[in-house]
Amino acid sequence: MATTVTDAPAYVYGITWVDVAISGADGVADAAVQTVEHGELAAIVSPLESSDIRARRRDLLRHAEVLQQAFGRAAVVPLGFGTVFASDDDVVSDLLEPRYEELVELLHRLDGLVELTIRALYDESAVLAEIVEGEPRIAALRGSSNPADQVALGEAVAHALADRRTRDSDEIVASLSSLAREVSIEERVAEYEVIRGAFLVERSAVQEFEAVAEELARRYGGSIRFKLTGPLPPHHFVSERWAS
């Protein structure tokens, strides 16, 4: 495949095998995506005309899209957003050459594996209704005009919700983990979030994973809403930092 070497700084999206044809897509700062190759490896790059770039919303989306597109064809080591080398030559001399063995090994390890992310959120009124119905003390405090009762009510609900979350998230993780090679669970950020995590699974097991997620969604019957995204490049499973 033809590789155009430019003098401009090179924005790097990820690393893949050399025979994966990626070119022409619109990348960060609207530049055309191409590859810089070394041995069996290809870095997916695009030229950056100005080094004084401010990332825009569109650039973040493009980074993910370019990786997603390459990942549709072969294993990819996704880089975090924002990595820029001084030139295409520097991508070879500072990254592909010195890290060749590690990158080849990483690509082999990720071969045939995909990332699926799950986000599960409680439906506020459904889960609170179940808590009220399940705990007579809470039901009794409900609607009281006494401020102390209101604090006690809220505290009891908060504890009941926390207990439930522990139980539900353990069950969800256990069900989905049986199909995963690796699991990465994120710190919770939203009040009604049950779980947010990524699962590294074999491409051939994606359907089975989906079936398990559907079964979970059915079992929780609307008190928990699930969102399953993927197959994605393995963003969560290459989160290391390398000094160049």
């Binding site: 989306l61 992310t117 009124s125 209704a129 009220v132 989160s239």
Partner: protein, 118 residues
């Protein structure tokens, strides 16, 4: 694009083949992925990080009152579960009271929002 799963009894699983918005993408590419110390690293400036809005408030009286308010305004009639009639039966007067409290709470929230912006 996100689509609801078809052909199943479940509408509670949303399927998205790829990240469907900025928040999803931010989750994947800002602190995830291989990070290499390179020539330069583009700073992400001026992009409001949607996920920050959702940070959990540490347990406090305010959190408790928020939960209490949410529970008070529940309309259990909608939940089609057994045993609700019993709850509604002894809560005839409580419902109006709860409504009053809810309005009070809303006012309070409105005011404190205004204060914090000033």
């Amino acid at each position: 694009m996100a689509v609801a799963t078809q052909g199943t009894a479940s509408n509670y699983l949303q399927r998205a083949p790829s990240p469907s918005g900025l928040a999803d993408v931010v989750d994947l590419i800002l602190d995830k992925g291989l990070v290499i110390d390179a020539y330069i690293r583009i700073a992400v400036i001026g992009i409001e990080l949607v996920t920050i809005d959702a940070r959990i408030v540490i347990a406090s009286v305010d959190t408790y009152l928020r939960f209490a308010e949410a529970v008070n305004r529940l309309d259990l009639q909608q939940t089609e579960k057994a045993g609700i009639d019993e709850l509604r039966g002894n809560g005839g007067g409580g419902k109006d009271k709860a409504k009053g409290m809810l309005e009070g709470a809303k006012e309070k929230v409105g005011r404190s929002n205004g204060d914090s912006r000033d």
